[in-house]
């Protein structure tokens, strides 16, 4: 009897841990960001200066450049990844025979399993030179980071889209085919409307992933504190700035880094929540 109660309590405390972690992360980031929040307020979001004073005591810190860099690299990634991921999902559900769809599915999922640092390495040494020779620029910059980011999120997006397309009842598809619809018409008028929620959900989840991605972007975005004037220009993003400069920062600069981490955390929290609850729903049972 005692064992049963202990077991139940332990499982209850384990379950509440995710709640405490989430609240704990928010509370810690918020507390450590206070100094910077008091100093700069909401103007932090629009201030493009990031400069420490000579004496290292203070300075002016604004998050505009990393915020813009994060947004732009994510937008580039989404523009490239979305059509490709949709295409792959359509190929897997409607075009390929099972004998082809299965290995292709596994390959796509393996692509998703490769650690992000590998994408960064590969991107830096193999992809950046190609971008440099075809589009120009230094090789590293917004465009390269965006493209490699796209390659990273495609498998993830394609897998969720495929799963939700697969839930379309066969009867619906068959009725449309019986009316003489082409494959594309079935996809557009039957499958897409049926799995709309899942597809939009997968796009938003991938968006959240791209916003928070650190290592692949760290190799490729250039890590320069400047506003990009051109799509191939180097800049920086919130995760990359944190990865490279967080540990060495002092006082007000450190606090500003926490401020940026808080912004990233809150934004991805809302994005994930919207994707999960508004579009993907929860499959209870």
């Amino acid at each position: 009897m005692m064992g049963g109660k202990l077991f139940r309590n332990f499982s209850f405390f384990s379950a509440t841990l995710s709640f405490f972690l989430l609240v704990g992360i928010f509370a810690i980031l918020f507390t450590y960001a206070q100094e910077s929040m008091h100093e700069f307020g909401f103007d932090f979001l629009f201030n493009g200066t990031w400069e420490a004073d000579e004496d290292d005591e203070g300075g002016i810190f604004g998050g505009f450049i990393p915020i813009i860099g994060t947004l732009l690299s994510t937008i580039i990634a989404m523009v490239i990844a979305t059509p490709l991921a949709m295409g792959i999902a359509i190929f897997l559900t409607e075009i390929a025979s099972e004998a082809i769809a299965k290995p292709v599915s596994i390959a796509i999922e393996l692509l998703a399993a490769i650690p992000s640092i590998i994408y960064g390495m590969w991107g830096l040494f193999y992809f950046a030179p190609i971008v440099q020779s075809t589009v120009g620029g230094n090789g590293v910059g917004l465009l390269t980071a965006g493209i490699v980011l796209a390659i990273m999120i495609i498998p993830f997006m394609a897998a969720i889209t495929r799963d939700s397309m697969n839930t379309t009842p066969l009867v619906l598809k068959e009725s449309a085919y019986a009316m003489g619809a082409t494959k594309f018409e079935v996809i557009k008028d039957v499958i897409m409307p049926y799995s709309k929620g899942g597809i939009i959900g997968s796009i938003i989840l991938a968006l959240g992933r791209a916003l928070g991605e650190t290592m692949a972007v760290a190799f490729l975005i250039g890590s320069v504190m400047s506003i990009p004037r051109n799509i191939t220009d180097p800049t920086t993003s919130i995760p990359v700035l944190l990865a490279n400069n967080f540990a060495e920062a002092q006082d007000l600069e450190m606090s500003s880094m926490y401020y940026l981490a808080l912004i990233l955390f809150v934004v991805s929290f809302f994005i994930i929540t919207i994707a999960k609850f508004y579009f993907l729903g929860r499959k209870v049972k």
Binding site: F12, I114, F184, A243, F269
Partner: protein
């Protein structure tokens, strides 16, 4: 005719995107294998980073990932058991389930920042424990969701049979329900292990890195992934070669664990 043409175009474009996706996988794997294999020497495995090998890094990375799993697997499984077996249908369980889903997608660098504030800053320096905690925070939500989903697949009748035999609730859970879901949960554990062993961002300023062989978790701890990030940015050829060798080995480890996990689940069904 027009709609048939449109149909063809869309189908060709879809097939093309699949080809592009597969193409990238092979491109990445091919360059990685070529660069990796040509850079691997016997000394890569027998020497530590300070002497141009990755022995201490492999041991360090595995040590942290295994200890993180030792922390995350029991906690995550127990939480999953609560959600499915005790709290199922309750408001609290559904709130926790949702929060855990959100945690699963939290940016890994933010988790690194959080653990830095919690376990590095107050204790005066980078330490292996902080790295382990950061990795386990990434792992717990994945284990929760796998356990939850896998327990949901266990037929109600099994639980009822247990009750009919007079088993107490926790005995039924442990000896019947969890046992029935064993394969699925093991696969989930393997896949999440494969995910955290390739993580870099949560380790950058928690356990950081160490050039020497050490098992002392109170100080900086060697990490394969953090070393790859450092080595790749050094200008000298030897460092880059070592980075490629380390990347290749890391990718092989991750992909092998993934394939083993998938194979296990396929054999069961």
């Amino acid at each position: 005719m027009n709609r048939l043409l449109l149909n063809k175009i869309i189908l060709i474009l879809s097939t093309l995107s699949a080809v592009i996706g597969i193409g990238f996988l092979f491109w990445i794997l091919a360059t990685l294998s070529y660069k990796g294999i040509t850079s691997i020497h016997w000394s890569t495995f027998t020497h530590d980073l300070v002497k141009g090998g990755i022995r201490n890094l492999l041991v360090g990375q595995f040590t942290m990932a295994i200890l993180a799993s030792a922390l995350a697997v029991p906690v995550g499984m127990m939480a999953g058991i609560y959600l499915r077996e005790y709290g199922h249908g309750s408001k609290l369980a559904s709130v926790i389930r949702n929060l855990s889903d959100v945690m699963m997608s939290a940016p890994s660098i933010v988790i690194g920042v959080f653990v830095f504030a919690l376990l590095v800053d107050p204790f005066g320096g980078y330490n292996g424990y902080a790295g382990i905690v950061a990795l386990s925070i990434m792992m717990i939500p994945i284990i929760i969701s796998t356990t939850d989903n896998m327990l949901a697949l266990v037929p109600k009748e099994l639980r009822e049979a247990g009750i009919a035999l007079g088993g107490s609730k926790h005995k039924i859970i442990l000896q019947i329900v969890v046992k029935a879901a064993k394969v699925g949960i093991t696969t989930g554990v393997l896949l999440s292990f494969a995910r955290i062993i390739g993580e870099t961002a949560p380790l950058l300023f928690t356990s950081a890195n160490n050039q020497f062989f050490t098992m002392d978790l109170t100080g900086q701890f060697p990490s394969l992934t953090v070393s790859i990030y450092n080595l790749a940015t050094y200008p000298d050829e030897a460092s880059r070669e070592l980075a490629w060798a380390a990347s290749f080995i890391l990718t092989m480890i991750v992909l092998c664990i993934n394939l083993i996990g998938r194979y296990a689940i396929r054999n069961k069904k």
